[in-house]
Symmetry: C2
Protein backbone atom coordinates (compact mmCIF):
# COMPACT_ATOMS: atom_id res chain seq x y z
CA UNK A 1 0.00 0.00 0.00
CA UNK A 2 1.60 3.29 -1.04
CA UNK A 3 2.02 6.08 1.52
CA UNK A 4 -0.86 8.12 0.17
CA UNK A 5 -3.09 5.12 0.73
CA UNK A 6 -3.39 5.90 4.46
CA UNK A 7 -6.24 8.39 4.34
CA UNK A 8 -8.75 9.89 6.69
CA UNK A 9 -11.21 7.23 5.49
CA UNK A 10 -8.91 4.51 6.77
CA UNK A 11 -8.60 6.32 10.07
CA UNK A 12 -12.36 6.76 10.37
CA UNK A 13 -12.87 3.07 9.64
CA UNK A 14 -10.22 2.20 12.23
CA UNK A 15 -11.99 4.33 14.85
CA UNK A 16 -15.23 2.45 14.34
CA UNK A 17 -13.46 -0.89 14.42
CA UNK A 18 -11.49 -0.36 17.63
CA UNK A 19 -14.11 1.61 19.60
CA UNK A 20 -15.32 -1.39 21.66
CA UNK A 21 -11.76 -2.27 22.69
CA UNK A 22 -9.98 1.00 23.53
CA UNK A 23 -10.63 3.99 25.75
CA UNK A 24 -11.66 7.41 24.53
CA UNK A 25 -8.94 9.12 26.57
CA UNK A 26 -9.50 12.45 28.31
CA UNK A 27 -7.92 15.79 27.44
CA UNK A 28 -6.51 17.47 30.56
CA UNK A 29 -4.73 20.74 31.22
CA UNK A 30 -2.80 22.46 33.99
CA UNK A 31 -2.89 26.14 34.84
CA UNK A 32 0.61 25.95 36.34
CA UNK A 33 2.13 24.25 33.31
CA UNK A 34 0.46 26.80 31.04
CA UNK A 35 2.01 29.57 33.14
CA UNK A 36 5.46 28.02 32.78
CA UNK A 37 5.06 27.39 29.05
CA UNK A 38 3.41 30.70 28.16
CA UNK A 39 0.76 28.99 26.06
CA UNK A 40 -2.46 27.03 26.41
CA UNK A 41 -1.69 23.30 26.39
CA UNK A 42 -4.21 20.49 25.94
CA UNK A 43 -2.83 17.10 26.86
CA UNK A 44 -4.33 14.04 25.17
CA UNK A 45 -3.84 11.35 27.82
CA UNK A 46 -2.88 8.18 25.99
CA UNK A 47 -1.05 7.09 29.14
CA UNK A 48 -4.57 6.34 30.38
CA UNK A 49 -5.21 4.19 27.28
CA UNK A 50 -5.52 0.38 27.50
CA UNK A 51 -2.08 -1.16 28.20
CA UNK A 52 -0.97 2.35 29.14
CA UNK A 53 -0.13 3.57 25.64
CA UNK A 54 -1.57 4.66 22.28
CA UNK A 55 -0.15 1.40 20.87
CA UNK A 56 -3.45 -0.26 21.82
CA UNK A 57 -5.08 1.62 18.94
CA UNK A 58 -2.84 0.41 16.13
CA UNK A 59 -2.53 -3.14 17.41
CA UNK A 60 -6.31 -3.54 17.69
CA UNK A 61 -6.92 -2.08 14.25
CA UNK A 62 -4.34 -4.35 12.63
CA UNK A 63 -5.76 -7.43 14.34
CA UNK A 64 -9.31 -6.47 13.37
CA UNK A 65 -8.24 -6.03 9.73
CA UNK A 66 -7.14 -9.68 9.46
CA UNK A 67 -9.37 -12.20 7.74
CA UNK A 68 -11.09 -14.75 9.93
CA UNK A 69 -8.63 -17.40 8.70
CA UNK A 70 -5.59 -15.27 9.41
CA UNK A 71 -6.91 -14.31 12.83
CA UNK A 72 -7.45 -17.95 13.78
CA UNK A 73 -3.73 -18.67 13.31
CA UNK A 74 -2.73 -15.87 15.67
CA UNK A 75 -0.44 -12.86 15.46
CA UNK A 76 3.25 -12.28 16.12
CA UNK A 77 5.74 -9.48 16.61
CA UNK A 78 9.20 -8.76 17.94
CA UNK A 79 9.18 -6.00 20.47
CA UNK A 80 10.01 -5.53 24.10
CA UNK A 81 7.81 -2.48 24.41
CA UNK A 82 4.23 -1.28 24.45
CA UNK A 83 3.35 -2.74 21.06
CA UNK A 84 3.93 -6.28 22.34
CA UNK A 85 1.58 -5.79 25.29
CA UNK A 86 -0.99 -4.13 23.02
CA UNK A 87 -0.88 -6.98 20.52
CA UNK A 88 -1.24 -9.55 23.30
CA UNK A 89 -4.31 -7.73 24.61
CA UNK A 90 -5.83 -7.43 21.12
CA UNK A 91 -5.33 -11.16 20.44
CA UNK A 92 -6.80 -12.08 23.81
CA UNK A 93 -10.19 -10.64 22.85
CA UNK A 94 -10.49 -13.29 20.14
CA UNK A 95 -8.89 -16.14 22.03
CA UNK A 96 -6.05 -16.41 19.51
CA UNK A 97 -2.34 -16.60 20.35
CA UNK A 98 -0.01 -13.59 20.30
CA UNK A 99 3.56 -14.79 19.78
CA UNK A 100 6.01 -12.24 21.12
CA UNK A 101 9.74 -12.49 20.40
CA UNK A 102 11.74 -10.75 23.12
CA UNK A 103 15.48 -10.51 23.76
CA UNK A 104 16.75 -12.63 26.66
CA UNK A 105 17.83 -9.47 28.46
CA UNK A 106 14.43 -7.75 28.29
CA UNK A 107 13.56 -6.05 31.60
CA UNK A 108 11.46 -8.20 33.92
CA UNK A 109 8.74 -5.54 34.03
CA UNK A 110 8.25 -5.72 30.24
CA UNK A 111 8.15 -9.51 30.30
CA UNK A 112 5.58 -9.38 33.10
CA UNK A 113 3.42 -6.88 31.18
CA UNK A 114 3.28 -9.07 28.07
CA UNK A 115 2.49 -12.13 30.22
CA UNK A 116 -0.25 -10.23 32.08
CA UNK A 117 -2.07 -9.81 28.78
CA UNK A 118 -1.58 -13.44 27.84
CA UNK A 119 1.24 -13.14 25.29
CA UNK A 120 3.27 -16.28 24.47
CA UNK A 121 6.90 -15.20 24.76
CA UNK A 122 9.81 -16.68 22.82
CA UNK A 123 13.19 -15.45 24.02
CA UNK A 124 16.12 -15.01 21.66
CA UNK A 125 19.55 -13.44 21.58
CA UNK A 126 19.61 -9.69 21.85
CA UNK A 127 20.50 -8.89 18.24
CA UNK A 128 18.32 -7.61 15.43
CA UNK A 129 19.24 -10.64 13.31
CA UNK A 130 18.23 -13.11 16.04
CA UNK A 131 14.94 -11.31 16.60
CA UNK A 132 14.05 -11.34 12.94
CA UNK A 133 14.99 -14.96 12.28
CA UNK A 134 13.21 -16.15 15.44
CA UNK A 135 10.11 -14.28 14.35
CA UNK A 136 10.31 -15.69 10.83
CA UNK A 137 10.59 -19.24 12.14
CA UNK A 138 7.65 -18.66 14.46
CA UNK A 139 5.42 -17.31 11.70
CA UNK A 140 6.41 -20.13 9.34
CA UNK A 141 5.72 -22.77 11.98
CA UNK A 142 2.42 -21.35 13.29
CA UNK A 143 1.03 -19.44 10.33
CA UNK A 144 0.70 -16.39 12.58
CA UNK A 145 0.50 -12.95 10.93
CA UNK A 146 3.36 -10.56 11.64
CA UNK A 147 2.03 -7.22 12.95
CA UNK A 148 4.94 -4.77 12.88
CA UNK A 149 5.04 -2.03 15.52
CA UNK A 150 4.75 0.98 13.20
CA UNK A 151 5.70 0.50 9.54
CA UNK A 152 2.28 -0.80 8.50
CA UNK A 153 -0.78 0.99 7.09
CA UNK A 154 -3.32 -0.56 9.48
CA UNK A 155 -1.15 0.25 12.47
CA UNK A 156 -0.69 3.85 11.32
CA UNK A 157 -4.44 4.23 10.69
CA UNK A 158 -5.10 2.95 14.21
CA UNK A 159 -2.67 5.40 15.81
CA UNK A 160 -4.26 8.19 13.76
CA UNK A 161 -7.52 7.73 15.66
CA UNK A 162 -5.82 9.64 18.49
CA UNK A 163 -6.02 12.85 16.42
CA UNK A 164 -9.50 12.02 15.13
CA UNK A 165 -10.69 11.90 18.74
CA UNK A 166 -8.85 15.13 19.51
CA UNK A 167 -10.62 16.84 16.62
CA UNK A 168 -13.93 15.90 18.24
CA UNK A 169 -12.77 16.93 21.71
CA UNK A 170 -11.20 20.31 20.93
CA UNK A 171 -13.15 23.37 19.93
CA UNK A 172 -11.72 25.68 18.72
CA UNK A 173 -9.02 23.76 16.88
CA UNK A 174 -5.50 24.00 18.33
CA UNK A 175 -2.83 25.98 16.51
CA UNK A 176 -0.38 23.10 16.92
CA UNK A 177 -0.43 19.37 17.55
CA UNK A 178 2.75 17.75 18.85
CA UNK A 179 3.37 14.02 19.10
CA UNK A 180 6.57 12.15 19.93
CA UNK A 181 8.26 10.41 17.00
CA UNK A 182 10.15 7.11 17.21
CA UNK A 183 9.10 4.72 14.44
CA UNK A 184 6.60 7.34 13.32
CA UNK A 185 3.30 5.47 13.60
CA UNK A 186 1.66 7.97 15.92
CA UNK A 187 3.04 11.03 14.15
CA UNK A 188 2.15 9.81 10.64
CA UNK A 189 -1.38 8.72 11.59
CA UNK A 190 -2.10 11.89 13.53
CA UNK A 191 -0.72 14.06 10.72
CA UNK A 192 -3.03 12.46 8.15
CA UNK A 193 -6.07 12.87 10.42
CA UNK A 194 -5.19 16.44 11.36
CA UNK A 195 -4.66 17.54 7.77
CA UNK A 196 -8.16 16.32 6.94
CA UNK A 197 -10.05 17.39 10.05
CA UNK A 198 -8.15 20.39 11.43
CA UNK A 199 -6.58 21.94 8.35
CA UNK A 200 -5.42 25.04 10.23
CA UNK A 201 -3.54 22.99 12.85
CA UNK A 202 0.18 22.55 12.25
CA UNK A 203 1.59 19.13 13.20
CA UNK A 204 5.07 18.93 14.74
CA UNK A 205 7.07 15.85 15.66
CA UNK A 206 9.00 15.87 18.93
CA UNK A 207 12.16 13.78 19.05
CA UNK A 208 15.03 13.16 21.49
CA UNK A 209 18.27 14.79 20.30
CA UNK A 210 20.07 11.49 20.94
CA UNK A 211 17.84 9.62 18.47
CA UNK A 212 17.25 12.27 15.81
CA UNK A 213 16.89 10.16 12.67
CA UNK A 214 13.40 11.49 11.98
CA UNK A 215 14.59 15.11 12.07
CA UNK A 216 17.58 14.31 9.83
CA UNK A 217 15.38 12.38 7.43
CA UNK A 218 12.72 15.09 7.37
CA UNK A 219 15.11 17.96 6.81
CA UNK A 220 17.13 16.18 4.12
CA UNK A 221 13.94 14.73 2.61
CA UNK A 222 15.90 11.46 2.46
CA UNK A 223 15.38 8.53 4.83
CA UNK A 224 18.34 8.37 7.24
CA UNK A 225 19.33 5.46 9.44
CA UNK A 226 19.23 5.57 13.23
CA UNK A 227 22.82 5.25 14.48
CA UNK A 228 23.56 4.23 18.08
CA UNK A 229 20.64 6.09 19.67
CA UNK A 230 21.02 7.32 23.23
CA UNK A 231 18.01 8.81 24.92
CA UNK A 232 16.18 8.56 28.23
CA UNK A 233 13.01 8.25 26.13
CA UNK A 234 13.47 4.52 25.52
CA UNK A 235 10.33 4.24 23.40
CA UNK A 236 11.77 6.58 20.77
CA UNK A 237 15.09 4.90 20.02
CA UNK A 238 13.63 2.90 17.11
CA UNK A 239 14.36 3.75 13.48
CA UNK A 240 11.82 5.74 11.49
CA UNK A 241 9.60 3.53 9.32
CA UNK A 242 9.59 3.88 5.53
CA UNK A 243 5.86 4.28 5.02
CA UNK A 244 5.78 6.53 8.09
CA UNK A 245 8.51 8.70 6.61
CA UNK A 246 6.59 9.33 3.39
CA UNK A 247 3.43 10.32 5.24
CA UNK A 248 5.40 12.56 7.59
CA UNK A 249 7.08 14.31 4.65
CA UNK A 250 3.65 15.03 3.17
CA UNK A 251 1.75 16.17 6.27
CA UNK A 252 4.11 17.35 9.02
CA UNK A 253 5.35 20.92 9.40
CA UNK A 254 8.57 20.26 11.30
CA UNK A 255 10.40 17.94 13.66
CA UNK A 256 12.05 19.51 16.71
CA UNK A 257 14.60 17.88 19.03
CA UNK A 258 15.27 18.22 22.75
CA UNK A 259 17.96 16.83 25.03
CA UNK A 260 17.52 14.42 27.93
CA UNK A 261 17.58 16.99 30.77
CA UNK A 262 14.71 18.85 29.08
CA UNK A 263 12.79 15.58 28.70
CA UNK A 264 13.32 14.68 32.35
CA UNK A 265 12.21 18.15 33.46
CA UNK A 266 9.04 17.83 31.39
CA UNK A 267 8.37 14.33 32.73
CA UNK A 268 8.62 15.61 36.31
CA UNK A 269 6.31 18.54 35.53
CA UNK A 270 3.57 16.23 34.28
CA UNK A 271 3.99 13.92 37.29
CA UNK A 272 3.91 16.71 39.85
CA UNK A 273 1.51 19.21 38.27
CA UNK A 274 -0.91 16.88 36.51
CA UNK A 275 -0.60 13.80 38.75
CA UNK A 276 -0.14 11.62 35.70
CA UNK A 277 2.43 8.85 35.42
CA UNK A 278 4.01 9.20 32.00
CA UNK A 279 7.09 7.59 30.53
CA UNK A 280 9.88 9.91 29.37
CA UNK A 281 8.93 9.28 25.72
CA UNK A 282 5.56 10.88 26.43
CA UNK A 283 7.15 14.08 27.76
CA UNK A 284 9.07 14.98 24.61
CA UNK A 285 6.23 17.12 23.21
CA UNK A 286 6.06 19.26 26.35
CA UNK A 287 9.85 19.49 26.43
CA UNK A 288 9.82 20.84 22.88
CA UNK A 289 7.19 23.45 23.76
CA UNK A 290 9.16 24.61 26.80
CA UNK A 291 12.44 24.75 24.91
CA UNK A 292 11.03 26.53 21.84
CA UNK A 293 8.83 28.85 23.87
CA UNK A 294 8.77 31.71 21.35
CA UNK A 295 7.38 29.54 18.59
CA UNK A 296 4.39 28.57 20.74
CA UNK A 297 3.86 31.75 22.78
CA UNK A 298 0.19 32.51 23.36
CA UNK A 299 -0.91 29.62 21.13
CA UNK A 300 -3.29 26.76 21.72
CA UNK A 301 -1.15 23.62 21.66
CA UNK A 302 -2.34 20.00 21.75
CA UNK A 303 0.23 17.47 22.97
CA UNK A 304 -0.15 13.69 22.95
CA UNK A 305 1.05 12.08 26.19
CA UNK A 306 1.84 8.82 24.44
CA UNK A 307 2.25 6.36 27.32
CA UNK A 308 2.81 5.71 31.00
CA UNK A 309 4.79 2.49 31.15
CA UNK A 310 7.77 3.25 33.32
CA UNK A 311 9.52 1.21 36.00
CA UNK A 312 8.59 3.14 39.15
CA UNK A 313 11.52 1.58 41.00
CA UNK A 314 14.00 3.05 38.49
CA UNK A 315 12.96 6.61 37.87
CA UNK A 316 15.17 8.78 35.67
CA UNK A 317 15.79 11.36 38.43
CA UNK B 1 -24.58 24.59 63.24
CA UNK B 2 -25.58 21.14 64.54
CA UNK B 3 -24.41 18.00 62.75
CA UNK B 4 -27.75 17.34 61.15
CA UNK B 5 -27.56 20.80 59.62
CA UNK B 6 -25.22 19.58 56.87
CA UNK B 7 -27.79 18.27 54.42
CA UNK B 8 -28.01 17.37 50.77
CA UNK B 9 -29.37 20.87 50.16
CA UNK B 10 -26.16 22.38 51.48
CA UNK B 11 -24.16 20.06 49.29
CA UNK B 12 -26.24 20.90 46.22
CA UNK B 13 -25.79 24.61 46.91
CA UNK B 14 -22.05 24.07 47.35
CA UNK B 15 -21.85 22.27 44.00
CA UNK B 16 -23.43 25.23 42.21
CA UNK B 17 -21.18 27.69 44.03
CA UNK B 18 -17.86 25.98 43.33
CA UNK B 19 -18.58 24.75 39.80
CA UNK B 20 -16.70 27.58 38.04
CA UNK B 21 -13.58 27.00 40.16
CA UNK B 22 -13.09 23.24 40.41
CA UNK B 23 -12.84 20.33 38.00
CA UNK B 24 -15.52 17.74 37.46
CA UNK B 25 -13.05 14.88 37.89
CA UNK B 26 -13.23 11.72 35.79
CA UNK B 27 -14.13 8.22 36.99
CA UNK B 28 -11.58 5.66 35.77
CA UNK B 29 -11.21 1.92 36.12
CA UNK B 30 -8.64 -0.80 35.48
CA UNK B 31 -9.32 -4.31 34.27
CA UNK B 32 -6.17 -5.60 35.94
CA UNK B 33 -6.95 -4.04 39.32
CA UNK B 34 -10.49 -5.44 39.11
CA UNK B 35 -9.00 -8.88 38.46
CA UNK B 36 -6.75 -8.57 41.52
CA UNK B 37 -9.55 -7.23 43.73
CA UNK B 38 -12.29 -9.58 42.55
CA UNK B 39 -14.78 -6.75 42.20
CA UNK B 40 -15.68 -3.89 39.90
CA UNK B 41 -13.95 -0.70 41.11
CA UNK B 42 -14.76 2.84 39.96
CA UNK B 43 -12.10 5.35 40.94
CA UNK B 44 -13.16 8.98 41.42
CA UNK B 45 -9.98 10.84 40.52
CA UNK B 46 -9.69 13.75 42.95
CA UNK B 47 -5.93 13.59 42.46
CA UNK B 48 -6.75 15.31 39.15
CA UNK B 49 -8.68 18.02 41.03
CA UNK B 50 -7.37 21.61 41.27
CA UNK B 51 -4.35 21.72 43.64
CA UNK B 52 -4.23 17.94 43.28
CA UNK B 53 -6.78 17.10 45.97
CA UNK B 54 -10.49 17.15 46.91
CA UNK B 55 -9.59 19.89 49.39
CA UNK B 56 -10.20 22.41 46.59
CA UNK B 57 -13.93 21.72 46.93
CA UNK B 58 -14.33 22.52 50.63
CA UNK B 59 -11.96 25.49 50.60
CA UNK B 60 -13.76 27.10 47.68
CA UNK B 61 -17.17 26.53 49.21
CA UNK B 62 -16.13 28.01 52.55
CA UNK B 63 -14.58 31.06 50.89
CA UNK B 64 -17.68 31.58 48.73
CA UNK B 65 -19.92 31.39 51.80
CA UNK B 66 -18.22 34.42 53.40
CA UNK B 67 -19.90 37.80 53.27
CA UNK B 68 -18.38 40.40 50.98
CA UNK B 69 -16.96 42.20 54.04
CA UNK B 70 -15.44 39.05 55.49
CA UNK B 71 -13.98 38.05 52.15
CA UNK B 72 -12.31 41.44 51.72
CA UNK B 73 -10.30 40.89 54.90
CA UNK B 74 -8.95 37.58 53.66
CA UNK B 75 -8.83 34.04 55.01
CA UNK B 76 -6.44 32.13 57.23
CA UNK B 77 -5.61 28.60 58.32
CA UNK B 78 -2.91 26.52 59.92
CA UNK B 79 -1.98 23.55 57.80
CA UNK B 80 1.02 22.24 55.99
CA UNK B 81 -1.05 20.14 53.65
CA UNK B 82 -3.49 20.25 50.77
CA UNK B 83 -6.02 22.47 52.56
CA UNK B 84 -3.50 25.31 52.74
CA UNK B 85 -2.83 25.21 48.99
CA UNK B 86 -6.56 24.93 48.28
CA UNK B 87 -7.36 27.93 50.46
CA UNK B 88 -4.60 29.96 48.80
CA UNK B 89 -6.03 29.15 45.37
CA UNK B 90 -9.59 29.97 46.45
CA UNK B 91 -8.52 33.34 47.87
CA UNK B 92 -6.53 34.16 44.74
CA UNK B 93 -9.69 34.16 42.59
CA UNK B 94 -10.94 37.16 44.56
CA UNK B 95 -7.63 38.91 45.01
CA UNK B 96 -7.79 38.60 48.80
CA UNK B 97 -4.97 37.36 51.03
CA UNK B 98 -4.72 33.77 52.31
CA UNK B 99 -2.66 33.74 55.51
CA UNK B 100 -1.15 30.31 56.05
CA UNK B 101 0.54 29.37 59.31
CA UNK B 102 3.11 26.63 58.77
CA UNK B 103 5.63 25.00 61.09
CA UNK B 104 9.27 26.04 60.50
CA UNK B 105 10.12 22.45 59.62
CA UNK B 106 7.45 22.06 56.91
CA UNK B 107 8.82 20.26 53.85
CA UNK B 108 10.09 22.58 51.13
CA UNK B 109 7.69 21.05 48.60
CA UNK B 110 4.66 21.99 50.74
CA UNK B 111 5.95 25.53 51.23
CA UNK B 112 6.52 25.84 47.48
CA UNK B 113 2.99 24.58 46.72
CA UNK B 114 1.36 27.18 48.99
CA UNK B 115 3.57 29.92 47.51
CA UNK B 116 2.73 28.81 43.95
CA UNK B 117 -0.92 29.59 44.67
CA UNK B 118 -0.09 32.93 46.23
CA UNK B 119 -0.46 32.09 49.93
CA UNK B 120 1.18 34.44 52.49
CA UNK B 121 3.09 32.13 54.83
CA UNK B 122 3.83 32.82 58.49
CA UNK B 123 6.22 30.33 60.02
CA UNK B 124 5.99 29.27 63.66
CA UNK B 125 7.37 26.64 66.00
CA UNK B 126 6.30 23.12 65.25
CA UNK B 127 3.86 22.66 68.14
CA UNK B 128 0.08 22.69 68.12
CA UNK B 129 0.08 25.52 70.68
CA UNK B 130 2.38 27.69 68.56
CA UNK B 131 0.30 27.08 65.46
CA UNK B 132 -2.93 28.03 67.18
CA UNK B 133 -1.62 31.14 68.90
CA UNK B 134 0.12 32.35 65.72
CA UNK B 135 -3.12 31.88 63.80
CA UNK B 136 -5.15 33.68 66.48
CA UNK B 137 -2.75 36.64 66.42
CA UNK B 138 -2.91 36.76 62.63
CA UNK B 139 -6.70 36.73 62.53
CA UNK B 140 -6.92 39.38 65.27
CA UNK B 141 -4.44 41.62 63.47
CA UNK B 142 -5.84 41.25 59.93
CA UNK B 143 -9.51 40.45 60.49
CA UNK B 144 -9.10 37.37 58.30
CA UNK B 145 -11.64 34.55 58.67
CA UNK B 146 -10.30 31.25 59.93
CA UNK B 147 -11.26 28.40 57.56
CA UNK B 148 -10.50 25.13 59.36
CA UNK B 149 -9.43 22.14 57.28
CA UNK B 150 -12.36 19.85 58.09
CA UNK B 151 -14.38 20.57 61.25
CA UNK B 152 -16.66 23.13 59.57
CA UNK B 153 -20.07 22.76 57.92
CA UNK B 154 -19.20 24.68 54.73
CA UNK B 155 -16.01 22.68 54.28
CA UNK B 156 -17.87 19.40 54.79
CA UNK B 157 -20.60 20.44 52.33
CA UNK B 158 -17.92 21.27 49.77
CA UNK B 159 -16.18 17.90 50.14
CA UNK B 160 -19.59 16.22 49.82
CA UNK B 161 -19.88 17.47 46.25
CA UNK B 162 -17.46 14.63 45.36
CA UNK B 163 -20.23 12.08 46.03
CA UNK B 164 -22.88 14.28 44.42
CA UNK B 165 -20.83 14.19 41.21
CA UNK B 166 -20.33 10.45 41.55
CA UNK B 167 -24.09 9.96 41.82
CA UNK B 168 -24.44 11.72 38.47
CA UNK B 169 -21.55 9.79 36.91
CA UNK B 170 -22.41 6.25 38.03
CA UNK B 171 -25.32 4.26 36.70
CA UNK B 172 -26.20 1.83 38.19
CA UNK B 173 -25.38 2.98 41.71
CA UNK B 174 -22.37 1.31 43.35
CA UNK B 175 -22.89 -1.15 46.20
CA UNK B 176 -20.19 0.60 48.24
CA UNK B 177 -18.46 3.96 48.41
CA UNK B 178 -15.11 4.14 50.20
CA UNK B 179 -13.28 7.32 51.11
CA UNK B 180 -10.21 7.80 53.26
CA UNK B 181 -10.81 9.31 56.70
CA UNK B 182 -8.43 11.67 58.50
CA UNK B 183 -10.25 14.68 59.91
CA UNK B 184 -13.42 13.31 58.34
CA UNK B 185 -14.48 16.14 56.01
CA UNK B 186 -14.54 14.01 52.87
CA UNK B 187 -16.13 10.99 54.55
CA UNK B 188 -18.83 13.02 56.35
CA UNK B 189 -19.75 15.10 53.30
CA UNK B 190 -19.82 12.08 50.98
CA UNK B 191 -21.87 10.07 53.48
CA UNK B 192 -24.55 12.79 53.68
CA UNK B 193 -24.72 13.06 49.89
CA UNK B 194 -24.76 9.32 49.34
CA UNK B 195 -27.52 8.70 51.90
CA UNK B 196 -29.71 11.19 50.01
CA UNK B 197 -28.86 10.33 46.42
CA UNK B 198 -27.78 6.69 46.44
CA UNK B 199 -29.71 5.22 49.35
CA UNK B 200 -28.72 1.65 48.48
CA UNK B 201 -24.99 2.46 48.54
CA UNK B 202 -23.14 1.67 51.76
CA UNK B 203 -20.45 4.18 52.76
CA UNK B 204 -17.26 2.92 54.39
CA UNK B 205 -14.37 4.93 55.79
CA UNK B 206 -10.84 3.69 55.10
CA UNK B 207 -8.23 4.51 57.74
CA UNK B 208 -4.57 3.68 58.37
CA UNK B 209 -4.16 1.27 61.30
CA UNK B 210 -1.51 3.58 62.77
CA UNK B 211 -3.99 6.48 63.01
CA UNK B 212 -7.21 4.67 63.85
CA UNK B 213 -9.02 7.27 65.97
CA UNK B 214 -11.99 7.35 63.59
CA UNK B 215 -12.49 3.59 63.84
CA UNK B 216 -12.17 3.65 67.64
CA UNK B 217 -14.55 6.60 67.85
CA UNK B 218 -17.05 5.01 65.48
CA UNK B 219 -17.10 1.63 67.17
CA UNK B 220 -17.32 3.03 70.71
CA UNK B 221 -19.75 5.73 69.54
CA UNK B 222 -17.63 8.08 71.63
CA UNK B 223 -15.13 10.59 70.18
CA UNK B 224 -11.60 9.29 70.86
CA UNK B 225 -8.40 11.29 70.66
CA UNK B 226 -5.67 10.60 68.11
CA UNK B 227 -2.58 9.42 70.01
CA UNK B 228 0.87 9.53 68.40
CA UNK B 229 -0.27 8.58 64.88
CA UNK B 230 2.19 6.72 62.68
CA UNK B 231 1.21 6.11 59.08
CA UNK B 232 2.71 6.42 55.63
CA UNK B 233 -0.55 8.17 54.68
CA UNK B 234 0.54 11.54 56.03
CA UNK B 235 -2.72 13.24 55.11
CA UNK B 236 -4.67 11.01 57.48
CA UNK B 237 -2.75 11.55 60.73
CA UNK B 238 -5.05 14.37 61.85
CA UNK B 239 -7.63 13.91 64.60
CA UNK B 240 -11.26 13.29 63.67
CA UNK B 241 -13.37 16.47 63.78
CA UNK B 242 -16.31 16.76 66.18
CA UNK B 243 -18.94 17.76 63.65
CA UNK B 244 -17.51 15.21 61.24
CA UNK B 245 -17.80 12.50 63.89
CA UNK B 246 -21.50 13.13 64.43
CA UNK B 247 -22.26 13.00 60.72
CA UNK B 248 -20.19 9.86 60.29
CA UNK B 249 -22.02 8.14 63.17
CA UNK B 250 -25.33 8.90 61.46
CA UNK B 251 -24.50 8.01 57.86
CA UNK B 252 -21.53 5.65 57.62
CA UNK B 253 -21.76 1.86 57.72
CA UNK B 254 -18.29 1.04 59.00
CA UNK B 255 -14.68 2.17 59.22
CA UNK B 256 -12.01 -0.35 58.23
CA UNK B 257 -8.27 -0.11 58.89
CA UNK B 258 -5.23 -1.27 56.92
CA UNK B 259 -1.53 -1.30 57.70
CA UNK B 260 1.22 0.60 55.89
CA UNK B 261 2.48 -2.26 53.65
CA UNK B 262 -1.06 -2.71 52.31
CA UNK B 263 -1.31 1.05 51.66
CA UNK B 264 2.03 1.09 49.84
CA UNK B 265 1.01 -1.91 47.73
CA UNK B 266 -2.23 -0.18 46.74
CA UNK B 267 -0.39 3.07 45.95
CA UNK B 268 1.96 1.21 43.62
CA UNK B 269 -0.95 -0.56 41.93
CA UNK B 270 -2.63 2.72 41.07
CA UNK B 271 0.64 4.21 39.80
CA UNK B 272 1.55 1.24 37.64
CA UNK B 273 -1.87 0.02 36.47
CA UNK B 274 -3.75 3.29 36.19
CA UNK B 275 -0.84 5.66 35.46
CA UNK B 276 -2.10 8.02 38.14
CA UNK B 277 0.13 9.73 40.69
CA UNK B 278 -1.64 9.42 44.04
CA UNK B 279 -0.41 10.08 47.54
CA UNK B 280 -0.50 7.16 49.99
CA UNK B 281 -3.54 8.68 51.75
CA UNK B 282 -5.48 8.25 48.51
CA UNK B 283 -4.70 4.52 48.31
CA UNK B 284 -6.26 3.55 51.63
CA UNK B 285 -9.66 2.80 50.06
CA UNK B 286 -8.17 0.36 47.56
CA UNK B 287 -6.01 -1.18 50.30
CA UNK B 288 -9.16 -1.84 52.35
CA UNK B 289 -10.91 -3.48 49.40
CA UNK B 290 -7.92 -5.73 48.70
CA UNK B 291 -7.50 -6.69 52.36
CA UNK B 292 -11.22 -7.33 53.00
CA UNK B 293 -11.77 -9.04 49.66
CA UNK B 294 -14.66 -11.27 50.78
CA UNK B 295 -16.76 -8.31 51.88
CA UNK B 296 -16.53 -6.74 48.42
CA UNK B 297 -16.40 -9.84 46.19
CA UNK B 298 -18.33 -9.35 42.95
CA UNK B 299 -19.62 -5.94 44.05
CA UNK B 300 -19.54 -2.56 42.36
CA UNK B 301 -17.29 -0.40 44.51
CA UNK B 302 -16.63 3.34 44.15
CA UNK B 303 -13.39 4.59 45.72
CA UNK B 304 -12.31 8.21 46.05
CA UNK B 305 -8.65 8.75 45.12
CA UNK B 306 -8.37 11.77 47.36
CA UNK B 307 -5.16 13.43 46.20
CA UNK B 308 -1.86 13.24 44.36
CA UNK B 309 0.51 15.49 46.26
CA UNK B 310 3.56 13.40 46.95
CA UNK B 311 7.26 14.22 46.85
CA UNK B 312 8.40 12.24 43.80
CA UNK B 313 11.98 12.35 45.05
CA UNK B 314 11.02 10.56 48.27
CA UNK B 315 8.73 7.74 47.30
CA UNK B 316 7.60 5.34 50.03
CA UNK B 317 9.11 2.27 48.29
Amino acid sequence: MPGSAVTIDHIRAAAGRIAPYVHRTPVLSSRLINAEAGCDILFKCENLQKVGAFKARGAHNAVLCLTREQLARGVATHSSGNHAAALALAASHFGVPAYIVMPENAPASKVAAVRAYGGAITFCESTQAARESTLQDLCARTGASFIPPYDHADVIAGQGTTALELAEQLDPAPDFLLTPVGGGGLLAGCAVATRALLPSTRVIGAEPAGADDAQRSFRSRQWQAQAAPEAVADGLRTALGQLNFRLILDHVEDILCVDDPAIIHATRLVWTRMKLVIEPSAAVGLAVVLQHAQRFAGKRVAIVLSGGNVDIDKLPW
